[in-house]
C-alpha cells in the first residue's frame, strides 16, 4: 500500500509541475528563437541553457549582448540576476539531500520555480520528491525547448499573445499563498519586501529589486524562546 500511496503522490507532483514545465518550455522556445533571430549561432543558446540554466539571466545576458553592451556587461547582468539563487540554495539545502552527488547535482537545479514548488509541500519527504521531480523535469523541458526554438526560429510568433507572461506570477501566487496565509510574521515581511522591490524597480538595475526585498525580513521578530529544552 505504501508504494501505491507514493506512486499516486508522485503522480500529483508530476501533474502539478507539468504546468510549470509547459510554461517554461514555451519560454525556452522563445529564448532559443530570440537568440538565433538576433544573430547568435544555434549552439550559443543551447550550450548556455545547459551550463547556466537560469531563464531570466539568460534572457538578460543575450539581450545585453545583442544590444551591443559587450560580454562583460552581459555576464555582470546575468550574475546580478542570479545572486538570489544563493539565498534559495540556503533555503533548500536540507531538502536537496546530504549525499555528495545529490548536493552537486541538486545545486544546479535550484531555480525560482523548483524552490517555490518544493517549499509549498507539507512534509519533508514530499518536499524532497517535489524538488527532484520538478527540478529534473524542468531542466529537461527547458533545454529541449531552447534547442527546438533555436532550430525552428520564431515559428510561435509573439508568445505574449498567449498570456504566458501571467502564468509564472500566477504559479508563484498559488505556491506561496498557503505559507503567506498561515504565518503572520512571514506575511508582514513579504508585503514589506514586495513594496520595497516595486518602489525600487524603476531606479535600479534588474535583479537588485528582488534582493532589496530581503530587507523586509527586518519585520521578522524573534520567536519567543521555547521551553522544550
Amino acid at each position: 500500500m505504501r508504494s501505491v500511496q507514493r506512486t499516486s503522490d508522485d503522480m500529483s507532483l508530476v501533474r502539478d509541475s507539468s504546468l510549470v514545465w509547459l510554461a517554461c518550455g514555451v519560454v525556452g522556445v522563445s529564448f532559443g528563437a530570440v537568440s538565433v533571430a538576433g544573430g547568435l549561432p544555434v549552439w550559443v543558446p543551447v550550450v548556455m541553457s545547459l551550463v547556466v540554466y537560469a531563464g531570466s539571466a539568460q534572457f538578460s545576458a543575450v539581450g545585453v549582448l545583442l544590444a551591443g553592451g559587450g560580454p562583460v556587461a552581459a555576464a555582470a547582468t546575468g550574475l546580478l540576476l542570479n545572486t538570489r539563487t544563493a539565498a534559495f540554495s540556503l533555503a533548500v539545502a536540507e531538502i536537496i539531500g546530504t549525499g555528495r552527488a545529490a548536493r552537486f547535482l541538486g545545486a544546479h537545479l535550484v531555480t525560482d520555480e523548483t524552490v517555490a514548488f518544493a517549499l509549498a509541500q507539507s512534509d519533508p519527504v514530499r518536499r524532497r520528491r517535489a524538488f527532484w521531480i520538478s527540478g529534473l523535469g524542468l531542466f529537461a523541458v527547458w533545454n529541449f525547448g531552447v534547442a527546438a526554438g533555436a532550430l525552428a526560429g520564431s515559428a510561435l510568433g509573439d508568445t505574449v499573445r498567449y498570456g504566458l507572461d501571467a502564468a509564472f506570477p500566477a504559479v508563484l501566487v498559488a505556491l506561496v499563498l498557503p505559507q503567506v496565509r498561515a504565518d503572520g510574521a512571514v506575511r508582514r515581511c513579504a508585503v514589506l519586501g514586495a513594496v520595497i522591490a516595486l518602489v525600487a524597480t524603476p531606479a535600479v538595475p534588474a535583479g537588485v529589486p528582488v534582493l532589496l526585498a530581503l530587507a523586509g525580513l527586518f519585520l521578522h521578530r524573534r520567536e519567543p524562546v521555547e521551553v522544550t529544552a
Binding site: R15, L19, L40, V44, V47, M48, V51, V52, A57, G70, P71, A74, A75, G78, L79, N82, R84, A86, A87, F88, L90, A91, A93, I96, T98, F104, G106, A107, D112, V115, L119, R161, G163, L164, D165, A166, A167, P169, A170, V171, L172, V173, A174, L175, V176, L177, V180, A185, C189, A190, V191, G193, A194, P202, P209, V210, A213, L214, G216, R222
Partner: protein
C-alpha cells in the same frame, strides 16, 4: 576562445557557485536556528517579491493592465482553493483574453 564563450563560462561558473552556497554550507557549519528561520522566511519574501515585480513590471516600467489583471484572476482562484491547473491556466487565459480584446 571568443568573448561570448568566456561570458557564458563566467556566467555559468558564477551562477553555479551561488547555487552551491546552501548545499556546501549545509552540514559543515552549525547554522543557528534563528538564521535557519530567516532563510526559510527569506525564500518566501524573495518569491513574493518576484511575483509582485513579475506581475506588475516589465523592463523597469509598468507591464500594462492585462498581465496584472490575469495574475489577480489567478490569485482569486488560488484564494478559493482552486486546483493548481485552474489557477495557472485561468491567469494566462484571462490575460490572453484581455489582450485579444485590445487591453494592453
Amino acid at each position: 576562445m571568443n568573448a561570448t564563450v568566456v561570458m557564458m563560462l563566467v556566467l555559468a561558473v558564477g551562477t553555479y557557485a551561488f547555487r552551491l552556497v546552501g548545499p556546501v554550507l549545509h552540514g559543515r557549519v552549525e547554522i543557528p536556528a534563528r538564521v535557519q528561520e530567516l532563510t526559510s522566511a527569506g525564500a518566501v519574501v524573495l518569491l513574493v517579491a518576484l511575483l509582485a515585480t513579475g506581475a506588475l513590471t516589465e523592463g523597469g516600467g509598468f507591464a500594462g493592465w492585462a498581465r496584472p489583471a490575469g495574475v489577480l484572476v489567478g490569485g482569486l482562484l488560488a484564494w478559493r482553493k482552486a486546483p493548481f491547473v485552474v489557477v495557472v491556466v485561468g491567469a494566462a487565459a484571462a490575460t490572453a483574453a484581455l489582450r485579444a480584446a485590445g487591453v494592453a
